[in-house]
Every structure is written in structure tokens, then in C-alpha cells.
Amino acid sequence: MAKRESTFINMVVTLFAVTFIASATLGGIYELTKEPIAKAKLEKKLKAIQLVVPEFDNDPNSEMYTIKTENDDMPLEVYPAKKGDKLVGVAVKSYTMKGYSGLIQLMVGFKPDGTINKISVLQHAETPGLGTKMTDASFKDQFYGKNPADFNLEVKKDGGDVDAITAATISSRAFCDAVKRAYDQYMKGGKK
């Protein structure tokens, strides 16, 4: 089986042809998968919102607005959830950089008056077995139904009302920081 000779022309043509066919094929596949990918991303967002706010029938994503103050590194995303025309809750995508291993992102669901509905942990890199316990109901549940106006969002060690995770005080503090940020920004000027 004779192979093509490795002349300069042959090499260039081959490489060009291979790359061209590859790029063209990929371009086609990209077009085909563009929509499913966008759909999957949107569904993921909606699911995250659904987990933390009461039932709604609008499209929170299209009504999303952001809040940012000078102290923040990143803007917070606020997703209003409505039933009919009535606001039933907001999901605030908040964050903190004070985690044991840096960034933690939360989706905090509030009732319109600022009471915490539910909280979802979106992203974190905390220590498995310790900080990761923040995703457990045994830690999160204590926030539900509390209004930060009279529930102090600091750990008990710092004079607040929150029961920290044993041996994971830093992660617990960071979690509170993220929830506090969400509440403060939402109540201060985020309501629309």
C-alpha cells in the first residue's frame, strides 16, 4: 500500500484539506447543537430558581436585573418570580469570597418582604466532609422562614443567631456573608 509522498505541496494540501473539512464539519455540528445547549443552560437556571422560591408562572430569567455596589467584586443577579402579576418571591444569585477555599455561590430565595424562603448552594470548593455540610438540610434549614430583619445573620460565636457547622466555622461564616449580601442588596434598592 503506497502512501502519498511527503512532498511540500502534498503536506500543505493535506493539512489544509484536513483542517478545512474538520472546521466545516464542526461548524455544522455547532449549528445543530446551538439550540439544545442554550436550552439546557436555561433549564439549569430555571431549576435553580424553582428550588428556592414559591411557585411561579412567569419567566424569571427574562425579567432578571442585576445589582452591584462599589464594594462588590461581582454583580448580584435578581430573578423575580411572579404568579399572574403578583410578585411571590425573588431568587438572588449571591456570592462570597470568604469561603475556606474561596468563592461560594448561593441562590437565595426571598419572599417579597425579605423572609428567606429557601437556599441552594450553586458552587463551592469547600473541604469535603466539613464545609460541604453547608449543602445539608441540617445546616440550611435553620435559615428558612427567618427574616434577617430579626434573625441575625452571623454565627453564634460572633454574637449572631446562626448555628455554625462543627469544625467548619469559616465556611459557615462565609455562607452567612453570602446570604447577608443577598438580603442587604435586595432590600436596599433591588426591589422593583
Partner: protein, 201 residues
Amino acid sequence: MNQKQNFTKGFIKDNAVFVMLLGLCPTLAVTSSAVNGLGMGLATTFVLVMANIVVALVKNLIPEKVRIPSFIVIIASFVTIVDLTMAGFLPSLHEALGIFIPLIVVNCLVLGRAEAFASKNNIVSSIVDGLGMGLGFAFALTLLGAVRELLGAGSVFGLSIPIFPTTEDGAPITMLLFVLAPGAFIALGYLIAIINRFKKS
């Protein structure tokens, strides 16, 4: 060798992970659970088989000196196809495997088979070789994933297997180390030792 041997060699005798030590990066990284190991194994098998087919088809059209770059482009294309398809239709698996999906392109197993086998054999043999080595790779990853998940989280494929004592709220007290980085190394080391023993007998 006949096609049956061609196919089965990938499972034990020439297993990519346990014997040839190829593709160790994804092996250690994504096997924190059995389902992730299986998903990665199958994704890699797809790329391997498709790349083998194309390489076997065009092997006579590609000049010797640009062999490797051409193979790389072919492999990279199929990796991108897998990446896009997973993002659109299997988003949670896509997120779990993360950066290791595009890293299939540097999996020495894939380039190795294209270079060592598909460029020298016909299409049918190349398909069988790709399937055998790929599924053998998937087998290794799933096995390692199952072991790590069992020891580290007390479950296999998400089904909890009660071999550990539990805390008051029913959570098993597992050997957490195994779903973390060090556990991957250690588990693989012992698995290879066991498989070597198995091969000898």
C-alpha cells in the same frame, strides 16, 4: 490475530489503564463516582472508534511527515463533537466531566491507537480494535469509579450500599479520602496490584 482476540485484548491483557498506563489523567480525575467513570469511558470510546475509522480510511492519502498533526486534527474534531453533543443533551454529565472532555484529545490512548493500529490496518480491524480498547478503558474507569464511590460515599451508581456504620441521621460514615485526590492514586495502585495478580493466575 483474529477479530475476537483483537476485541478482547483491550479488557485485561492489554488494558489501557491497568496494563499500558495510558490515559491516567481522566482515569484518576473523573472516577469519583461509577457513573462519571462510565460516562467518560463511553465518550472516549466514541472518539476512539470514530477516529480509528477515519484514520483507517484516509491513511493512504496522508503524507508520512504530517501524519501526527493530521491525526490530531481528526481526533480533536470528534472530541469537539462529543463536547457539543453532551453540552446540549447530557448537561449534568457534561458538567461533571468538565474540563476532561476536551482533554480526551490528549488522551495518549486515542492518539496511540490511531498511530499504532488504525494507520496500519483495515477499517474493520480498526473498528474492532477501537471498540475493544475503548470499552476496556471504560471498564477500567467504571471499576475504579465504583470502588471509589463505594468506599468514599457508600454507594455505587447512586444506589446506597450499607456497608458502613451510620450517624444518627442515617448518613454513612465513609472513607472520604477515596473520593478525593489521594484516594484516586491509592485505589488505582491497589487495583493494578490485584489485576496483575489476576493476570498471572
